[in-house]
């Protein structure tokens, strides 16, 4: 499990990998929306897929698929749990 335990932006995750939210570096309305969706520090998130042109990325949060733009996902810091390729 290469890179496990490192702190990274959520956007850097490749599809299939699993991580745990460390902190949200967002503010305002978006921060509240993200919290509302259940993305809070400690939540386990799995990166599922990227859109056809690579931009919004779909993440699995508590069995719900949520798409985030990469700009927003870079502001969410996570701890990698697995790189996931073996887990896909």
């Amino acid at each position: 499990m290469k890179g496990a335990g490192k702190i990274d932006p959520l956007a850097d995750l490749s599809p299939g990998s699993v991580c745990q939210i460390v902190s949200l570096e967002l503010s305002g309305l978006l921060r509240r929306r993200i919290l509302d969706m259940g993305i809070v520090p400690g939540t386990i998130i799995r990166c599922i897929r990227r859109g056809p042109s690579g931009d919004p990325t779909a993440y699995l949060v508590r069995e719900t698929l949520i798409a985030l733009r990469n700009e927003d996902a870079t502001q969410i810091l996570v701890k990698r749990l697995s790189n996931g390729e073996e887990n896909v």
Partner: protein
């Protein structure tokens, strides 16, 4: 704690207070939300047991297909063409059936009126005006709606629409707008007023306004019949065995150009009156589910088809009476409608239409559904009503009034790009709370429509193609 030092001004103090509040509030609110979710998770674990599966579910496999790099976009296009193809092929026969039924009943009505000895003008207003327009609207609109809306509701119910937003978001971001705008556009296919209301799902006020102002670039259900009929007559009809497919392709092409204009206008608005950068997107992609057929039929029939048809009928009935009066009141040598059309004719000709067409679009302001009926009524106001149930009869009426393929294309383009109907304008006013945005939502599509038709017409004419 540090002793307070006097600050420069009140706003400095307020600023400091705000920053202190924010820095604490975030961690506090995070803690609260995390606790709530923690509790919820605990409860869930106690009461729910789940089979753990490691294989890829159907959802994942479907998503692999519909959001894939290679198939994502073509698949959306294919869906579009298929939906319209089924709508057109399916609506053809029932439309004719309803038309012949209703027009036969019109003759019966006329007999009854004659038998009762009612004056000619009452018969004119009620039967030739109100009833005939209503018969038109119902026979032309009901079958395509009864097919299109359930199909659309099926797509909606299955969970495919959020995937469209997911696929399209990148493109909308480039236009500095929100991917959810593609959802409000999908709603616009049904009804632009509903589309405008649905813009509430967009969080950023700037992007919401963009979505509202551009919603009418998606042809609503009231404009489909016009597009479908004109395409079938002038384009599809020339490729006889494949007319359904050709028509579906042409209409899909029109819709694509509407989408292109939407993106362009969104982009232009973003650098002019609605300056700003694209904000965020949090889009939930619910799992696919098997649509409940009963609910789909109920919802699409009662909530949509009947709703839209009712609106069309309410607008068409008085419009039919007004048209009949305009067409049969003579000021000097000619009827009012002919005078009005002649006054509009120079402008109409400039953009490849004619005075009657322009008048029909103007009188169609209450509801786009009645544009074509009004046009036919005014074309026929002097002549005898022929067999309008068949496309050939319609084609004759239009060709006799000087239509060419260029007129047909211009009518379709103008139908796609012109002022939204009165309901949509009122809804825009209600949603934005400002007359300025309502006016912009009126003028932007109008300017685009006039310029597009003008340029096309002048180019085609100067090349001598018509």
């Amino acid at each position: 704690m540090r002793p307070l030092t006097p600050s420069g001004s009140l706003s400095d103090v307020c600023g400091k207070a705000e920053s202190v509040r924010n820095s604490n509030l975030n961690s506090l609110s995070d803690q609260i939300v995390a606790d709530i979710y923690g509790n919820a998770e605990l409860i869930t674990k106690q009461v729910l047991s789940k089979k753990k599966t490691h294989q890829k579910g159907l959802d994942q496999r479907l998503d692999d297909l519909v959001t894939s790099k290679w198939f994502g976009y073509p698949l959306m296009l294919l869906m579009l063409v298929i939906v319209f193809w089924i709508t057109m092929e399916g609506a053809n026969f029932p439309s004719r059936l309803i038309a012949s039924g209703l027009f036969t009943f019109q003759d019966q009505l006329t007999l009854w009126f004659q038998w009762a000895g009612t004056p000619a003008w009452i018969h004119g207003i009620l039967v030739l005006g109100v009833y005939r327009t209503l018969a038109w609207v119902v026979s032309v609109m009901l079958p395509p709606m009864a097919i299109f809306f359930p199909m659309f509701t099926l797509l909606e119910d299955s969970g495919y629409l959020p995937r469209i937003a997911f696929n399209m978001d990148h493109i909308f971001k480039k236009a500095k707008a929100c991917g959810k705008q593609s959802l409000t556009m999908c709603m616009g296919f049904g009804c632009n007023a509903v589309g405008v209301t649905s813009c509430r799902i967009i969080d950023s006020p700037r992007e919401r306004l963009i979505a509202i102002l551009t919603n009418s670039f998606v042809p609503c259900n009231g404009r489909f019949p016009t597009l479908i009929i004109v395409t079938s007559i002038f384009i599809g009809g020339t490729f006889v065995p494949y007319s359904g497919f050709v028509t579906a392709f042409v209409i899909s092409g029109l819709i694509l150009s509407g989408i292109a204009v939407t993106l362009l206008v969104s982009r232009v608005l973003s650098v002019t009156i609605l300056k700003g950068e694209p904000s965020s997107l949090v889009l939930e992609l619910p799992s696919y589910r098997r649509p409940q057929i009963g609910a789909v039929i109920y919802r699409s029939m009662i909530d949509r088809t009947i709703f839209v048809l009712r609106r069309a009928v309410l607008a068409a009935a008085p419009a039919g009476a007004v048209i009949w009066i305009l067409a049969n009141t003579y000021l000097g040598q000619q009827s009012i409608i002919v005078s009005l059309a002649q006054a509009l004719n120079p402008i109409g000709q400039l953009i490849g239409l004619d005075g009657f067409i322009l008048l029909a679009f103007i009188l169609g302001l209450p509801a786009n559904e009645i544009v074509l009926p009004i046009l036919l009524m005014s074309y026929l106001s002097t002549g005898y009503l022929q067999d309008l149930g068949s496309l050939d009869g319609l084609r004759n009426v239009l060709v006799n009034n000087g239509w060419t393929w260029l007129t047909a294309i211009n009518v379709m383009l103008f139908s796609l790009f012109h002022w939204p109907c009165a309901t949509t304008l009122l809804t825009t006013y209600k949603e934005t709370g400002s007359k300025k945005w309502m006016f912009l939502s009126f003028i932007i599509p109008t300017i685009i429509g006039i310029s597009v038709c003008f340029i096309l017409t002048q180019v085609v004419r100067s090349l001598g193609l018509v």
